[in-house]
Symmetry: C2
Subunit: 361 residues, 2 copies
């Protein structure tokens, strides 16, 4: 790929342009707001001058609602050999394009699975996609040349290509991203009316479950509005489980032994299915989550404590797989949970003890 | 407090005994399994010889199902000036005791909000309760002397006393602990049948929401069986929200503009209530969660990378409030998210850049 035109210079478009420009591709930038295109150009993402002839690839990075019409215009104008969009939903834009009876052999849908809280060209970085999945949704009509242009784009952005059917993609993000967001919000919403004393009892569990509930409602309304069907289907499955579980809990209150046993079986079933499902969530390097040993170290709140722990860990020659910092309610003291390969746990505990750390086993 | 008798030498009982013995209290240990009491004694938690006369405080640390009967026996035998239990549910044992028409002025219910994956005396540590909330549920019948014995126990364990009504406690743990556990399991359960490709798209959001779904089903069945009513009530609230949300998503699929607007309002409402509820979750030091700036640093998988980051952070004189390590699907590269006071973010970014780190803004 030697030339590209990025239409829509927000966070995603400008980040892709920065990655391409940084790897020697001549990038042209266009936005409905010329000021944004100028900003992206000033950041080194390319030039806001129009290309003189057709480019190799047009990247459409406008909001989902405008994706199909922008694509159609670009294709009618014959701006490129290949056309790719990055909308977070893939089924609807494809159907809209098909409705416009265009030749779609030069088009491929895609969705880079990365983002951040902030948006706009100023939030863009060349490494935004590094190591993240980038979904591609070719059809049997897609030219191999266009698929290869898309794969080259993904490679230049250092992302990991994942080929999927458009509707399968929409169902997948409903399951792994959109549903968890809504459920997290619902659990957090229960805390609005809670007594101050009850809230003081919050621990790390509810902290993790409700973390993403702090996300921007307007942004999530847009995402969910573009994918309502698949999200409703997954949520309906959760709702059925939830009703079953409430019934099971009520049975546990019964004076009838059989009913109580029935309730216990129902609760144990949902908990077991949960552990099975959780076991499928990829851990580091996309592998099934390794079972790590936790070495829990008490620290004070002084700066430098973490540096000392990790320096001492390093001296012990142990690789930390994951870290969790838990600060105790109403205290300066905190707990650092170091997750390490089981084989390394004992040695690390001994090494840290020797260096004066208080370890909670 | 000079003397105590701990009945039930599991994780909680032995940990409390270790804390008391470590601070000069003469601790006697008793367990229905003498071997466990011997083990606790061998760990330095006290003596498994019976006390010669009444002790100051009896700590009942047996499973919830046996709490009331064990307490009744101890009180009939006149073993102490004060009696305290540590069962994770408080309403039921109190009602069972009242059913036995005992004088409860010498009794106080309590629940230390700490635990760990492992159980039994060998998992016990003197600092298990350090900085954690320890709920006390006195009634107007409770002798002040007994309340003060309990407060002394909590202080000697370095925990934070929180006084609550017994039923309010059970409703609170249903809200902040038991419900999040079940909902996390239900979201995780949806992944059991998912395509491998869909699972590859999992990000940090679903990882956090489903983390506690990996907990031991048998342990949680016990906890939930002891508190079914309050948990069912909270879950029913979540279920109502869930049904509303599914309806709202279906409305978003409608061709009718008013219906779609109605759907959007419904979705935005649950998301907003979620952010409000999340804002009440205490962060470090029990304060409302501070809004931290995230400085995201790309790292390789070599050991020592974390040590270097935290050493460089320390040199920059910045205090890390929290850390999250995110490993990229199918890549060795990882992302370390350093959460710092907003005022410190720019300086830290500059300092780490200067030391050669690649920062994702």
């Amino acid at each position: 790929m030697r030339t590209a035109l990025v239409i829509g210079t927000g966070l995603i478009g400008t980040s892709a342009a920065l990655a391409l420009a940084g790897r020697g591709v001549t990038v042209h930038l266009r936005d409905h707001d010329p000021e944004r295109a100028r900003t992206a150009a000033a950041l080194g993402a390319g030039t806001d001058a129009p290309p003189e002839g057709p480019v190799d690839l047009v990247v459409i990075a406008v909001p989902p609602a405008h994706t199909a019409t922008t694509l159609a215009e670009a294709m009618h104008a014959g701006l490129a050999r290949g056309y790719l969009d990055v909308a977070s939903v893939k089924g609807r834009p494809r159907r809209e394009l098909e409705g416009l009876s265009l030749d779609l052999s030069a088009y491929i849908g895609s969705h880079p699975m990365s983002g951040k809280e902030r948006s706009g060209p100023l939030a863009a970085t060349a490494d935004l996609f590094e190591g993240r999945p980038w979904v591609l949704t070719p059809t049997r009509d897609t030219d191999t040349e266009v698929l290869n242009l898309a794969l080259e784009l993904v490679a230049l952005c250092r992302a990991v290509p994942v080929v999927m059917d458009a509707d399968a993609h929409d169902r997948a993000v409903a399951l792994v991203s959109h549903t968890p967001q809504l459920v997290s919000s619902m659990v957090a919403a229960q805390l609005r009316e809670a007594d101050e004393t009850a809230v003081r009892l919050c621990g790390q569990g509810i902290r993790d479950v409700t973390r993403i509930a702090a996300s921007d409602p307007r942004m999530w309304l847009e995402i969910l509005s573009a994918n309502p069907g698949p999200v409703a289907d997954v949520l309906a499955g959760v709702a059925a489980d939830l009703d079953e579980t409430v019934r099971a809990l009520r049975s546990l209150q019964s004076s009838d032994d059989d009913k109580r046993r029935e309730g216990a079986d129902g609760i144990e079933d949902v908990l077991r299915r949960g552990t099975e499902g959780r076991a499928r969530v990829p851990g580091k390097h996309g592998a099934a989550p390794a079972v790590y040993e936790v070495v829990a170290v008490l620290i004070s709140d002084k700066p430098g404590e973490l540096a000392r722990i990790f320096a001492d860990t390093d001296r012990a020659g142990v690789n930390i797989e994951d870290v969790r910092i838990e600060h105790a309610t109403g205290q300066q003291a905190g707990l650092v949970q170091l997750m390490v390969e089981p084989a390394a746990a004992l040695g690390l505990t001994a090494a840290l003890r020797e260096r004066g750390w208080s370890i909670r086993q």
